[in-house]
Amino acid sequence: MASGDGDSVELLQGALDLIVLRALHTMGPLHAYGLAARLEQVADDPFVLNQGTLYPALVRLEQRGYIKGTWQKTESNRDAKFYRITKSGIGAVARHTQRWRRLAGLVEKLLLLDEA
């Protein structure tokens, strides 16, 4: 079936999905631009996200039922599609965080071994 959760081949994609989910979980509903701004703010490096690359992550998450988008007005009275995390999305955050940690730990261990 489609790109499975935690599929190692699609690690980066999984990472982006997790980051988006966590951001929505902790900060409440955000639109795509808001998400992009938030990510740029969090990143220490001047790692510049091509904001367009957020869209596949959003559609993936929405199709899985983890987030839901609705059109609302921004503070500046512009139309924007706000994404809100759903109940099953909240469950997914915990699961995916755990999985990510395990994976990251493993990679870290391997890297240390190689260096030693």
Binding site: M1, H31, Y33, N50, G52, Y55, R60, Q63, S76, K81
Partner: protein
């Protein structure tokens, strides 16, 4: 849930690829506006802010592409788009679509029908739990691989084997059911040991199985009914258990009803009931009385090969202990194989294999049609290629179109398959009302695979040819464009293969049909026509002694002779239709006895004195039986010509004596030859050698349990039924006369399935011939059309109509001859296969292939001639202007 949810969303989006686009655009626009707002807030002028926003966002189109990839399946989007395109282009060419789909439906339908037959007999699992553990056990010797068993041997097999969970013994049984005030009703069934039902493993619908105690002759007054018989005869009475039926004049209690379908007629024949094993006590002890079948269920984890090894060892040990059955062994065979004999199996495989050629011819036709179409589209293709469409993309589009046609043809083929199966079912299962060849999931899968493969086969080559077309040349060329050499090579190959395939198909089925015909024309040594036969069970206390039985035969014979229209009457233990019932070893006096297990196998037949005259068997030397050959007189036999020449090659057989092997002191065991008659063949059986060693025993000195009545008469079986039953009922009320048929009908019925497959094949062959003719006509027409300009120039330069005709025909006939030559190899192969599969079929003869080859060549030449003549009648002026 989440992955499934996403999968469905993607499929939905793929099927409606544009539905999410406006929403996406709106979202991207909004995003851009917010970004621009931000840059403006930082002090940039609006125009610069917009530029900055674009830069920051990245490529909008790229983002949208990523979104599309993520939200749907791109390949599915392409597939639906290609399918729509193909459907549109087929709608624009309805003639092509109809011809292609009908051709394919015929080709696939023929194959699907034959596959269904094969599937029903050989692939579909039996309707019992774990059917692959069910096997039959046969005794083997140099004479046969499928001998039955004796009761004591079975008991030893059952108690001493280590490989069977259950092992059962069974044999056919006829029973007469009498109800007060009604004529006796003939029923068919099996007598089975109590292991029979546990072996098959299906619990009863009502009541119970037989118990071990009911294996004893004293305790076997019980019966289990089939569901069909229970419903037909007792209206499905739920209170049937415990009721008493009068079978063979005895009261028998119904203890069970098996569920519908358990009696699986394809395997067991038409049966109404099961009885416990009821055989006379002496037969229970007799290791020489081999007439029962074994069926067993292997233990879990035991393979058939292991079990066979183990049983062979057991057989060896047994024959060492009993000094019997030496030189023999045991063989295990999956129960499923018993659904059809070797000849039937061969006939099915042959018909199935040859039906594949119908499909190949259909494919060749379609390839040509497709070639014509793609050639016509070459301009469209090349323009699209020039505009940047990838070659792969164009190829895929052509294949999608073939695939669509193939799938439509596959669906339509079910109609054809249903029609063929209707025909098969009506002819094949005259005696088995519950058996049918049906379509199932396997057939659907087979048809689908056929459709996809044919689609690839007839679609790929033309598509490849079209995709290879040189863009520059094709665009500058005139519209008909692609008279490239690869095209015409391909067309040549099509004609050659159509002819070759058609020849193999025609000669294969021709040899088969002709072989059957020649088999039917053989003189069996008796006159099949003008005989009506019937059967009668002679059991019960009134017929226990030889005197009683003889008295019955005498009285019955006298009464039957008085029936108007009856010329002669005979009784015998079996009929020379598919083989005699009993056979055994015989040795001649004064000749060394062969080693155990290497005796000649002699068929023994007990017959009444008028048997030979009634059947029309000729006396060669000596005398036939008379009423004087009585029980208290010296024992005599009449032997067949072949028996005489095998045992006494250079001397007269008359006066010679024979006996069963083994030491003997009793002179009464010697059988003296008093006559030699011509060999008697079995015109209803292709399974075994036509002529065997045969010995006839007079009725007063033999023993007949199931009586075969044979009457030479001018009457039909129908008009004889009533008088025959009336005469029988006066003499023997409990035992009805049944199976009243003409001998010819029995022969036909025995050969029925083989003949059916042969005639199906004949139908397929005609279909293949027709398709090939259409195909050759189509290819030639197309190539003539392509050459119209060239032919016009030739004619303008002075070529006559005759020259044009010759030009076209020359090439056509050369290709046809190549096809015939290739097909001849195939024909040789098919003839080899046919004779090795059914050795008794007289199929080796040169005339049939020669005649059919000539016929095919003629048809093919006509198919070439018609377009050639049209070309020769063209007006050169028109031809030159031809675009």
């Amino acid at each position: 849930m989440a992955p499934l949810r996403r999968f469905l969303a993607r499929v939905f989006n793929a099927l409606r690829p544009d539905s999410a686009e406006p929403e996406l655009s709106r979202e991207v626009d909004a995003h851009m506006t917010l970004l621009q707002d931000e840059f403006e807030r930082k002090g940039l002028p609006p125009a610069v802010a917009r530029m900055a926003a674009r830069r920051s966002f990245g490529s909008v189109e790229h983002a949208k592409d990523l979104h599309r990839d993520a939200r749907s399946f791109v390949w599915l989007v392409d597939l639906t788009r290609d399918t729509r395109h193909a459907a549109r282009s087929l709608r624009r060419a309805p003639m092509f679509a109809v011809v292609a789909i009908v051709t394919l439906a015929l080709g696939i339908g023929a194959n699907a029908a034959m596959f269904s037959v094969l599937n029903t007999y050989m692939l579909r699992p039996l309707p019992y739990p774990a059917p692959n553990r069910l096997v039959r056990v046969f005794r083997t010797s140099i004479h046969s691989q499928s001998w039955p068993h004796s009761f004591p041997n079975y008991v030893d097999h059952r108690s001493r084997n280590t490989v069977f969970e259950h092992l059962a013994l069974y044999t056919g049984l006829r029973q007469s059911l009498t109800t007060d005030g009604q004529p006796a009703e003939g029923l068919q069934g099996l007598q089975v040991t109590s292991d029979f039902f546990p072996t098959l493993g299906v619990p009863p619908e009502l009541g119970r199985w037989f118990t071990r105690a009911e294996d004893e002759p004293s305790a076997n007054k019980v019966v289990i009914l089939t569901d069909a018989f229970w419903r037909r005869r007792f209206g499905g009475d739920p209170a049937i258990l415990g009721k008493t039926l009068r079978l063979e004049g005895q009261n028998v209690v119904v203890v069970g009803v098996m569920p519908a379908g358990f009696e699986h007629q394809l395997l067991w024949g038409q049966i109404d009931l099961w009885r416990p094993f009821t055989i006379p006590p002496q037969q229970r002890q007799n290791r020489n009385s081999n007439s029962f079948q074994e069926v067993g269920r292997l233990k879990v984890g035991v393979t058939r090969a292991e079990a066979e090894q183990s049983m062979m060892q057991l057989a060896a040990n047994l024959s060492k202990e009993t000094k019997l059955n030496e030189g023999e062994s045991l063989r295990l065979e999956p129960l499923q194989r018993s659904q059809v004999d070797d000849v039937g199996r061969s006939a099915m495989w042959l018909a199935f294999g040859l039906s594949g050629f119908v499909l190949l011819i259909a494919c060749a036709n379609l390839a040509n049609l497709q070639l014509v179409r793609t050639a016509a589209h070459v301009r469209e293709h090349t323009i699209r290629a020039a505009l940047g469409a990838g070659r792969f993309r164009l190829l895929r589009q052509s294949l999608t179109e073939s695939g669509l046609v193939a799938v439509a043809g596959g669906v339509a083929s079910f109609v054809i398959a249903r029609i063929v199966l209707e025909f098969v079912n009506r002819r094949l299962f005259v005696d088995l009302p519950l058996a049918r060849v049906t379509l199932d999931v396997r057939v659907f899968a087979f048809t689908l695979i056929c459709a996809v493969l044919t689609g690839l086969l007839f679609g790929a080559v033309p598509a490849l040819l079209a995709s290879r077309a040189d863009v520059n040349r094709a665009l500058s060329d005139r519209p008909r464009g692609s008279t490239s050499s690869s095209h015409s090579r391909f067309q040549h190959a099509l004609i050659v293969s159509e002819v070759a395939f058609a020849l193999v198909l025609l000669t294969g089925s021709g040899l088969f049909l002709r072989g059957l015909q020649r088999f039917g024309q053989r003189d069996p040594g008796w006159r099949v026509d003008g005989l009506v036969t019937a059967q009668l069970g002679l059991r019960g206390p009134n017929y226990a002694t030889p005197e009683q039985r003889l008295a019955f035969f005498k009285a019955f014979d006298e009464r039957l002779r008085t029936l108007p229209g009856v010329v002669d009457v005979a009784f015998s233990s079996s009929q020379p239709i598919g083989g005699f019932n009993s056979s055994g070893p015989l040795v001649a006096e004064g000749q060394p006895e062969p080693q155990q297990g290497h005796y000649r196998e002699v068929f023994m037949e007990t017959v009444s004195p008028r048997y030979f005259q009634t059947l029309g068997i000729r006396l060669i030397t000596g005398r036939l039986f008379t009423a004087d050959d009585a029980a208290d007189k010296p024992r005599v036999i009449v032997v067949s010509e072949r028996t005489a020449s095998q045992y006494w090659p250079n001397e007269s057989a008359i006066g010679k004596r024979m006996k069963f092997p083994g030491p003997t002191s009793d002179t009464n065991q010697w059988l003296q030859v008093v006559g030699v008659v011509n060999d008697v063949g079995f015109p209803g059986s292709l399974a075994e050698p036509y002529t065997r060693l045969e010995v006839f025993v007079p009725i007063a000195q033999g023993f007949i349990l199931g009586v075969n009545i044979t009457m030479r008469t001018t009457l039909s079986p129908e008009s004889l039924t009533q008088p025959l039953r009336r005469v029988a009922a006066e003499l023997i009320p409990v035992s009805p006369v049944n199976r009243i048929r003409t001998a010819r009908a029995l022969v036909d019925q025995n050969l029925g399935s083989t003949e059916l497959f042969a005639s199906l094949l004949g139908g397929f062959a005609l279909l293949g011939l027709g398709l090939a003719a259409i195909g050759i006509y189509g290819v030639t027409s197309y190539s003539v059309t392509q050459r119209t300009g060239e032919l016009g120039i030739r004619m303008a330069l002075g070529a006559q109509a005759r020259d044009v005709l010759r030009l076209v025909l020359q090439r056509g006939s050369a290709l046809i001859l190549v096809g015939v030559a290739l097909g001849a190899f195939g024909t040789y192969g098919v003839a080899q296969v046919l004779t090795s599969m059914i050795p008794t079929l007289p199929a080796r003869e040169p005339m049939t292939p020669i005649v059919l080859g000539a016929a095919l060549t003629t048809v093919a030449l006509i198919a070439c001639y018609l377009p050639a003549r049209r070309a020769s009648k063209m007006d050169p002026a028109v031809a030159l202007r031809h675009e």
